[in-house]
């Protein structure tokens, strides 16, 4: 499938997940997106999956504690200053599950975009939106770049006998990683300027024409969004 229809399809699935009213529909969309993400190589996909699923789990576990509605109480906890009494009701759990699945579905749609779509070709197809799409494409590449940088730091530390262990050890790398990516972004911006980026009169290399599957994907994306509004 060409990248632009793939992006449209992923965006359609994310939109349908946000528009659908039934938890089971959202769960189904999330499952489809998860299956797509699992097609990516294991080494690349794990940060995206862990990040997305952990965010969903966090929302599922903690939002019922913060919410205060519903009649069927599953658990009643202590009184906490400012927040009030902690309790969990069946309605709060159902709502938390629904919202967590929506979050997971949107996160997985982004993960599938980052892992499976040729972002170069999305960028090349962007036409007038090229600057914005370039920014998104470069931002999407940030995570894998940070991952490679982190491995480099860990290796250099091991090379001088320092082991990086636990959350605290890894947190120590956060500051050099951020500073390093800022340095790199400046170098990249300079390189882009030196290659004429932003100059008027730009042209585009010819791109391959869409095939039947690409057209079907776009039609499917529209259909999913409509279904999300009307039936799901």
């Amino acid at each position: 499938m060409s990248p632009v229809p793939a992006v449209v399809l992923l965006a359609g699935l994310a939109a349908a997940a946000l528009l659908a009213e039934r938890t089971v529909s959202v769960a189904l969309i999330a499952a489809v997106l998860l299956a797509a993400c699992l097609q990516a190589p294991r080494r690349r996909r794990w940060p995206y999956l862990v990040g997305t699923l952990a965010s969903g789990a966090f929302l599922l576990l903690f939002s019922p504690l913060a919410a205060r509605y519903g009649g069927v109480v599953y658990w009643s906890g202590p009184e906490v200053p400012v927040v009030g009494r902690l309790d969990v009701t069946s309605e709060e759990v159902a709502e938390a599950l629904y919202q967590a699945l929506r979050l997971v579905a949107v996160g997985l749609a982004f993960a599938a975009y980052a892992l499976l779509v040729d972002q170069d070709r999305v960028l090349l197809a962007a036409g007038r939106l090229r600057r914005s799409v370039l920014a998104i494409a470069l931002a999407t590449r940030l995570l894998p770049t940070l991952e490679r940088d982190a491995s480099g730091y860990v290796e250099a530390l091991r090379g001088r006998g320092v082991t990086v262990e636990g959350l605290r050890g890894r947190a120590r790398l956060l500051s050099p990683l951020v500073a390093g990516s800022l340095e790199r972004s400046l170098n990249l911006a300079e390189s882009m300027e030196a290659r004429g980026f932003g100059r008027p009169g730009r042209t585009r290399a010819p791109q391959p024409a869409w095939e039947t599957l690409d057209r079907l994907a776009v039609v499917g994306a529209v259909a999913i969004v409509v279904a999300g509004v009307l039936w799901l």
């Binding site: 170069d120 070709r121 250099a156 001088r160 990249l188 300079e190 300027e193 030196a194 042209t203 010819p206």
Partner: protein
């Protein structure tokens, strides 16, 4: 008529105490090859950036004097307006890649300057072919070796068919044969080429003119023959010289022995050369890009474990990465070095003094120049007093005088340990090593 001209150019980076360029005047003529030499921090990269219009437009700072390129004053023309007349290749190829696909990367500049759509693909493929990188057109940029990426970056510049090509250490990660090919092909197209190099032997063989800079000033601007005579008298380290170190045959304890080993990168199995490291000996490992030198270095240092074969290690090993940017974890130079010895600042101060960074304790590692960062990285490794010291391309970006200092330091400290230096720099290898091993390409395998 001059293709480019700098006239009394003085430039100071924002917040810098002294100017990076001071009263530089220079003319460049169509078709000539100019070799730009000088110590680290002498202003070579800044001069190349001024000729591309990036100084002052991209960097800001205080700019005085005048630079004209292809008849356009760079104070008025933006760098993107000069593209086509000028193309630049910067020091670090990894930091200049925009796209994930090699062909898209080369086509990027052509699209920006408005080349007709039908011509973009053929011109990109032709430029890749000229650089011997045609077979990389369908590859992903993050999968390429540093040497391959360097060739792609030069191809991206050549595709623009510039009248002036500015190359900032374009061969820093290439083996000698690949470096020669790159230089020969980059100069074949008839553009004027300015090449800044810290491995100057090759460009000095081919250039028409030499410009030597120091302290932001041009010390010499002369035709090749006159320049060679001047360099022999004033800066002999920039010329081929007798090795500074006489090789010895040593028979000490064997600290590392690698035999018939291979390492698996996923399902790709890379055989690595055999090597034996003896206490007191310095071995230089040279060879073409991609033969497994870095893999061997990491195996010897214990950072990787072999998929097959034998790797025996005795004693503690330390490994200096190719990238000095990996030694900037702490906020102070002293703390960075002390990190490897459990925060022992006395030992860290001693290590800093050994590499010539005494008094740098409170500086932030990111505020150091590239040459100083190299020495900080070395101190961070030396401080651990390893039995086995493995250095992977330690002279990248280092000027010839610094290389000689490093060779002398390693020779002084050699009796304490076994030292393995992986390098493409044959002059440095001859200066530093008791023994030079040349790794030959071996056939890769794929795991079933």
């Amino acid at each position: 008529m001059a293709l480019a001209r700098a006239d009394s150019l003085t430039y100071r980076y924002p917040g810098a105490a002294r100017p990076a360029l001071a009263g530089v005047s220079l003319e460049l003529h169509p078709g000539e090859l100019v070799c730009l030499l000088g110590p680290s921090g002498s202003g070579k990269s800044t001069l190349l950036r001024a000729l591309a219009g990036l100084v002052p437009h991209f960097h800001g700072g205080a700019f005085a004097g005048r630079v004209e390129v292809a008849g356009r004053d760079t104070r008025r023309a933006r760098p993107s307006d000069l593209v086509g007349a000028v193309a630049s290749v910067f020091q670090d190829p990894e930091d200049q890649v925009v796209f994930a696909g090699v062909r898209n990367e080369v086509e990027f500049g052509l699209e920006n300057v408005g080349v007709a759509p039908a011509e973009i693909g053929p011109r990109a493929l032709q430029a890749l072919g000229v650089m011997g990188a045609g077979h990389l057109a369908g590859r992903r940029t993050h999968e390429l070796s540093a040497g391959e990426l360097q060739r792609v970056c030069v191809a991206a510049a050549l595709a623009l068919r510039p009248r002036l090509l500015l190359l900032d250490e374009p061969t820093s990660q290439l083996d000698p044969e690949a470096a020669e090919t790159l230089l020969e092909r980059a100069t074949r197209l008839g553009s004027a080429v300015v090449i800044s190099e810290q491995r100057p032997a090759l460009p000095l063989e081919r250039c028409d003119r030499v410009v030597f800079m120091d302290g932001g000033r041009i010390e010499l601007d002369a035709p090749r023959d006159a320049a060679l005579a001047w360099l022999a008298a004033e800066h002999p380290t920039f010329l081929a010289h007798e090795p500074a170190h006489v090789g010895r045959n040593l028979e000490g304890d064997t600290l590392v022995r690698v035999g018939s080993a291979a390492y698996a990168y996923g399902d790709r199995v890379v055989p690595v050369p055999d090597v034996e490291l003896v206490r007191g000996e310095v071995i230089a490992l040279t060879g073409p890009n991609g033969v497994g030198k870095t893999t061997l270095a990491k195996l010897a240092a214990g950072l990787l474990e072999p998929a097959s074969g034998r790797v025996e290690r005795n004693g503690r090993a330390a490994y200096l990465s190719q990238d000095p940017g990996r030694y900037v974890v702490e906020d102070r130079v002293l703390d960075e070095v002390a990190l490897g010895v459990g925060g022992d600042r006395d030992r860290a101060r001693c290590a800093l003094a050994r590499v010539g960074l005494a008094g740098f304790d409170d500086r932030h590692p990111r505020d150091l120049s590239s040459g100083e960062r190299e020495r900080l990285a070395l101190a961070s490794v030396l401080v651990t007093e390893p039995d086995v010291l493995v250095l992977d391309e330690p002279t990248r970006g280092m000027d010839p005088e610094r290389k000689l200092e490093l060779a002398a330091l390693l020779a002084r400290e050699a009796p304490r340990r076994a030292t393995l230096v992986v390098t493409h720099d044959l002059t440095f290898a001859a200066d530093v090593a008791d023994r030079i091993e040349s790794a030959a390409p071996a056939k890769e395998a794929v795991l079933a």
